[in-house]
Amino acid sequence: MATAPKDFRFGNFVGSLVWLIFWVIVIVSLVGLPLIFIILFYVPLPYSNGEVLTPYLFFSMIVDPTRTIPIINFLIHTDIFRAAVFPGFTFAALIAAATIFIERKFLAKMQLRTGPLYAGKFEGILQLMADGLKLISKEIIAPSGADKPIFWSSPIIYVATAASLTALIPVAPGWVVADLDVGLLAIFAILGFFPLIALLFSWSSNSKYPFIGGLRALHQMIAFEIPFILSALSVVLVAGSLNLTDIVESQYAFWFFAIAPISAFVFYISSLAELERVPFDLPEAESEIVAGWLTETSGMIYGLIQLGTYLKLYVLAALFVILFLGGWMGPQIFPQELIPNYTGEKIYNATVVNGIFWFTIKTFGMIMLILLPRGINPRIRIDILLHTGWYKLIVLSFINMFIVLALIYGGVITPAGGLQ
């Protein structure tokens, strides 16, 4: 694919655009539209406001805003929308993409340089798109002795697991993809998959440096899962429930950060270790073991794993916000009605929008706090890391659990939040 590009001629460019449009029209009209009609012949269409939602109705309703609002209302509350767009995968992926860009700019400013500057008109804002296109166009090289099925499927499993975590995070009251009674426990259960996936991928790479990196990832993630769970338990003791929506709603009187600051600290350090971020990025220690368990990744496999990592970053930051910083609780700053004296159906719900706003602000603040140590610290060594994880953090989280228990039994805090 490496050929010298020809000189740019405007006529050729216009010609290529015309060809593109031609082929799009041919394929859509000869293949696409008949396929759609055949499917619609067999698939039952949903009901909206007492009418069957045919595509023709859909297109006609776009013209008249008041008739589209019921459709949008309907669509927003379907499961597909929740899982795929908001608060599910697309929302999380957008936040992950924004995180990657913010990380590069933030670190650059700390290091007295500018970061991405040239992609896009404004301060390199399209850098991510450029990187994504670059990764897609690269060749994926699998080592010759690699275990092919595991090598090719591990990154996809990684992204799928990270994306499934986003299904459990409540963003606003009533807006969560899967409202489980054991939501917190489900998050920890899914998080327990990641060391296994890292180990499988590094083993299947059939090389020494990924092997060492995979073992380090295993040690690190397992060591820090215990303080992770224990620090969240302090919050569960006060809230009295494992359901994440209930935990947020029981913070109506005060945020749990006020009574469990040590647990918040332990949770923060453990989430840095779970995410393999500096100072805990031993599994990918560049100067010792080339790139650790990511050595043999190239092209889109690397892209998928990075996407999975940043989705996990969003999930853990959101989890911190839910457990300790009051989730979506915040002063109501949005007016109750956008257009006064409007009696028709509305999609705008003041509490929901307020909740989304505060949640996003707090999550971004937490994400910046997780990004910060990368500019300040060098990498830690494995024996110091294991010592910290197994001794110090477990002790600290127990201390806070006892404080919280004392406060509850002393009558200062009622169970399910609220002061006495």
Partner: protein, 391 residues
Amino acid sequence: MTNKFSDSFEKKLEDTTKLGLEVVRESAEENLMTLSVGPQHPGSGHFRFIIKVDGDYIVYCDPDPGYVHRGEEKMCEYRNFIQNIPHLERPVIHDSTHITYSYSLAVEELLGIEVPRRGQFIRAIASELNRQVYTLYWLAIYGIFLGHSTMFMWPAGDRELFIDLLAALTGARVTHAFNIPGGVRNDIPDGFKEKCLQYVSYFEKRLKEYEDIFYNNPLFRQRTENVGILSKENAIKLGVTGSVLRASGIPYDVRKVEPYDVYDEIDFKVQYMKTCDSFARAYVPFLDMRESCNIIRQLLEKMPGSGEVRVKLQSNPKGRIGEAYKRVESGRGALSYYIVSDGSSRPYRVKISVGSFRNILALPHLLVGSKLGDMPSIYWALNYWPVEADR
């Protein structure tokens, strides 16, 4: 999969045995893992060392330099004294002043000439500026090896100040070809002294920040303190030089021990530490940089206002019959030249003894018995520049 692997394994054994590397077979027998921290490694530079690892502990280390061996010493015998300067700079491109400084001193002894005083001062100023450039680069790479990206960016940025000064002085950012036998090529430009003093005082403030943010960082200290202890007796026995020697409690600096040019008129202290660990080896260059700022100030003050900077030589000077051995304190240690001349215009033999080549002897001594995670902090703290050691 086993069949495909086994017949090529026998062939691999045969080949490596022929090449003299029996480590693969031995380590397979002893249940160890052989890692080649080789040239294709972000943590090694243009250099390879083979380590055998038992779990997390290193049990064997064998340095294998020679990837950038160019035959500098042989090439010197084919060119005359002045023609040798450009290719002699290439082993250390960013610290090129010292390797030509030492050569010029030795050749001046063979030719029997003495450099005018202003030329000596300019040579010393260029040498000190270059020492800052090299040490900042070394500090930046040390940060990368430990995983600290800010420790890479800040020194790399501050290094640009000194590179600007050197570019104004000599015309090139690196590999200046500024020192020649007989003096320096040209005089300092106008406004150089003020800019230099301004940059030096800005840099001293930055050094204070480096100390607070990098050296007093608890994680940095954890990674480097009590790691790779090189005791004083071992340092003397192994014959290490430069900051590695000074970090083991021996205050030896060639500028003080055997002052060359105008260094006997400059008042400075030799910086050394007694703790002998990797942190001391990382801290001594920092102290050297601070001391270097003082030296630059004194040199600029004491420089004679005018005068020749170079002895005018004939176009192809013939050296007197004899030999000369001169040394200089470079960024990595004592850099010595031993030049033998037989009366013609080309040297008969040039032997360069560089600090990197002498310090690499400490690497197997320090790595064996330490953890794999300590490898970057031990290896780079030895101030080893692979290209210079290979010459």
